[in-house]
Assembly symmetry: C2
Homo-oligomer: 391 residues x 2
């Protein structure tokens, strides 16, 4: 169902001839049929942000959006004024097709290769052909969640049935996934009656504890975009706190699915740091461990190599995360392989057959700061995908 | 020749049964026969620093060393008090064999798997068997440079004939190589007449512009050690500035050789950033680009993917390195593939057959800050080595 699970949304998708993969669906439209058109968004903090990000940031500034155009196969990033003009043209075209008052009622998202302009005629023709097929069916929702994929191996969606209202969403992303968002395009919809301010607060909080805490490969994209659209079609005005919790649930589910489909990965790794002096200290430690190529290779080889955990932990400066190396414990899948900075239980006791691997680090500072970051292992297939990927 | 190229040094090596590779030489001794015993060292800044690092830091604090014990096959890291006691015992044993006044005349270096204690009997017996074979021959120098290797594919040495004195050195290191030193053990010798203070200044400066500017995999070791020993046997007192330049030449050569032997690598990548507001700003940008797994995979695939250069550049915060993305140019092997933040020359014009790849980034801020960092590409073989490596 994805984005059409809540009432008041329709979607369409098509193979517009943008992707290098012949016949692959590469264009999706999402339209908010109201009665509300409230919206919120968070975007990449990469300084080389793509033209569609530049456009969408402006479009959403007033807290309102009626439609979204998403394409895979080309990122329209690092394309200068010409790329920005293309993004504007996309928005104008959907606004004109749908009779929206202005082009800034439309956000645009692009994902794919950096440095190429869009094949604009293909894209605009695709939009015109797809527009009449807009629908609110489960099939339409599913097809759109497929159309936005690049190196992803399967669609990633979420549906939450809340108290009288619904939340739905779709996301793409499997490489260039790093601390501040990811190479990801995410559209979340709801039929709740909510204000743009409330949505923005909920989305920022949700993103912070989900998309900003996954790291597939330490690389940050130029195109990351997360949009939240509200139609108000349920007529239900939720408790703001409860609404924020449900948005956080949706972003957590989608982020977890991104890690589950990380490029070439064979293990999903949860790095949890506890006993830190603060959440920030715990987060710095968790990020350092999750970013270790050596550890990620070891996990690929089913090796619970705690030496690579602590050597990564050891690069976090003392003023960022105070702790005594002699107090640190490391559990891998429940086995305490490092105890007080020294060898603990034999590594042979650790079972590594499951896809999910849990690395639990206790800094034992006496405080309770904690944080969790998810990452993937680093595999032959990751190298293959990224040495050969050009589209 | 390596460490015995200068006068006043002898070395010996042996297969002591420390490495998991049966019959591999895994132990080397280096002895300074004087008349001077001046020494300087720089060490890992990893907070989980290994027992031999803890020992050697104290031993060298007085600016004097007469001998070094180096083993491969076991890092003696994260081994607590027992590991420290082992390091002390190694030093005592060489001091006793050689008749040095005190055990702190000896530094010890270990490299290999983290979290295991040394097979101490093997190591001490090996030392006793090797000691009588100490020699100053080219063969002895070569054999020691082989004995210290782990996943390295070949020995890495340097010989510099300076004005009346000599500098020699050997280094190991090919994985866990990151900004602040590397999983490296390096011993540099000289027969110049120099003071510990002068040596320390020269070594710190040399390391900063060599070992601290290479990054194979972004991982920092627990065991990094660079030692500089002076015998004074040439009788020549060099000009301090000229001496420092020659030490910098030696460290630059050894660091470059480490990158050339980076685990599984097929390309050595030089990332040079110019036109920054300061050297620090340039260095932050160069490090960010050199750390990008996606870029390193692209280079492995002979793809001059400048989109992955600028998307890595874009994560450096503006207060760290002010620049305008629209002013940035990127040349790969002399072809300007990105011009003013937009596509430049076609990527097909870039030749990628050579092992060495040059990425030149001009931030065009109007200032002249610049910095260079070397790294390797990320290959299938890197994953293979680090998913399967356990010794």
């Amino acid at each position: 169902m994805s984005v059409v699970f809540p009432k008041g949304f329709s979607t369409a998708s098509i193979a517009a001839g943008i992707s290098a993969v012949k016949g692959k669906k590469d264009l999706a439209l999402v339209v908010n049929n109201g009665p509300l058109d409230a919206a919120a968004g968070v975007f990449t903090s990469n300084r080389f942000c793509a033209a569609p990000v530049q456009w969408s940031r402006k479009a959403i500034a007033d807290g309102h959006l009626r439609g979204v155009v998403i394409n895979s196969g080309c990122a329209n990033a690092c394309t200068g004024q010409a790329g920005y003009d293309q993004a504007a043209k996309e928005a104008e075209t959907l606004a004109s097709l749908a009779g929206f008052p202005k082009s800034s009622d439309v956000a645009v998202c692009s994902t794919g290769m950096i440095g190429d302009l869009l094949p604009l005629d293909n894209l605009l023709n695709g939009m015109k052909a797809a527009y009449p097929t807009l629908a609110s069916t489960p099939e339409a929702g599913h097809e759109s969640s497929v159309a936005i994929l690049t190196t992803d191996t399967h669609p990633k969606t979420v549906e939450i049935e809340a108290a009288g209202y619904r939340i739905g969403g779709m996301v793409k992303g499997s490489g260039m996934i790093a601390p501040q968002l990811a190479t990801m395009i995410c559209v979340i919809t709801t039929d709740a009656v909510v204000t743009p301010e409330q949505m923005h607060a909920a989305l920022e909080h949700g993103a912070e504890y989900s998309f900003n805490r996954i790291d597939v490969d330490g690389c940050m994209s130029t195109n990351d975009t997360v949009l939240l659209l509200a139609s108000g079609a349920s007529g239900v005005t939720p408790d703001p706190e409860e609404f924020a919790q449900n948005i956080a649930k949706a972003t957590a589910s989608l982020a977890r699915q991104i890690v589950g489909d990380g490029e070439g990965s064979s293990h999903d790794i949860r790095v949890k740091v506890t006993g830190a002096t603060s959440e920030d200290a715990a987060l710095a430690c968790a990020r350092a461990v999750a970013a270790s190529n050596l550890l990620k290779c070891a996990i690929c080889g089913n090796d619970p190599n705690w030496g690579r955990v602590v050597s990564s932990l050891g690069i976090v400066p003392e003023d960022v995360a105070p702790y005594d190396p002699n107090d640190v414990t490391v559990d891998v899948n429940g086995v305490r392989v490092c105890d007080g900075g020294k060898p603990g239980q034999p590594r042979d006791l650790v079972h590594m057959e499951e896809r999910e691997v849990h690395i639990d680090i206790d800094l034992n500072t006496g405080s309770t700061g904690e944080a969790t970051v998810w990452t993937d292992d680093l595999t032959h297939e990751y190298v293959h995908i990224n040495a050969d990927y050009e589209s």
